[in-house]
Symmetry: C2
Subunit: 191 residues, 2 copies
């Protein structure tokens, strides 16, 4: 009982945050399973300062363009309602982000004009690994996807991570093929 | 010369169509390589009548909800500018769609707030196969993705289709993992 009360996040815990989407879309069950010193919630417009990109840098090239550009991207994503759902796990004591992930929802003409959730860019601070936080992020994002009516949720991963995603309820389906743009385009900053 | 003139599509060919995005984003090079009796262009709001879902039904479950619902989905996609780019290949004589494909563009916080193009739902009418139309669709979608500044374009395919996508300039990267929603959600029509 006390675990649920301390670990779950309510509106009262987020008095002044400008969130990407409503906190109600975060699974209460997942919130309750987090250690009590951590909090899971939607990405907020002030999360650049809490180290959002620091956590992502453990996953891939970040190329930080600064806070103003980051905030603009946050607002551009939120301007397409029902599309982007980025979440974070915070260490409450330090007010630092230590886990991140996103699901974005694609509309289709197939499957009764159905939708598919694409899970992207999952990362956990290396000092917080071994606490099942990756699993919690996947569970929370899958919950958002399925609550939004997606008939399936997909993600791409390397061979090493297949067993982890199988534990999350996913099965290997197909192959991801990629084509990188010519270097000139690749390195051009977006305006 | 005459091949280019007849096969490429200009604004003059599309006098009254309500398109998902501007025709200018369709590669002129790809247009010019099509047989002269075919035309490649953005999806139009009246393409339900031209058999858009008939072509998609060769790929997956369509579950046709009727024209009004289809048009609503078209407008919902277009209401998120820079996100959805669905294209079609038409047989000019019959005014029927015989090839389809979509790329949608995902914004990220990684890679200098970069974008990734996701190629989805490629299908060609079985009576028109063997004319490299699948290749043309992939080339056109990749052109849209790269022109939009995406640092990479990705897609998922089964083992059999890997050589085809390699010919399109793609390489196998990772594994697609999928989780299907519970049946109750899966079959629920979207409101």
């Amino acid at each position: 009982m006390s675990i649920i009360n301390t670990a779950s996040t309510t509106r009262a815990d987020l008095p002044s945050l400008d969130l990407m989407f409503p906190q109600e879309l975060i699974s209460l069950e997942v919130s309750a399973q987090l250690p009590s010193d951590l909090q899971i919630r939607p990405l907020a417009s002030t999360d650049y300062k809490r180290g959002h990109l620091d956590v992502l840098s453990g996953l891939s090239v970040v190329n930080d363009l600064g806070e103003v550009a980051w905030v603009n991207q946050f607002h551009a994503m939120r301007a397409t309602p029902g599309a982007y759902f980025s979440i974070v796990i915070l260490d409450k004591a330090s007010d630092k982000i230590i886990g991140v992930g996103t699901v974005f929802i694609e509309r289709k003409f197939l499957r009764g004009l159905g939708s598919v959730g694409h899970v992207e860019d999952i990362a956990v601070d290396k000092n917080y690994q071994g606490k099942k936080l990756g699993l919690r992020i996947i569970q929370a994002l899958t919950h958002i996807s399925e609550s939004s009516g997606c008939y399936k949720t997909i993600l791409n991963c390397n061979d090493t991570n297949i067993p982890f995603y199988e534990k999350c309820g996913y099965v290997k389906k197909e192959n991801e093929m990629a084509k990188y743009a010519p270097e000139r385009v690749n390195n051009a900053p977006k305006l």
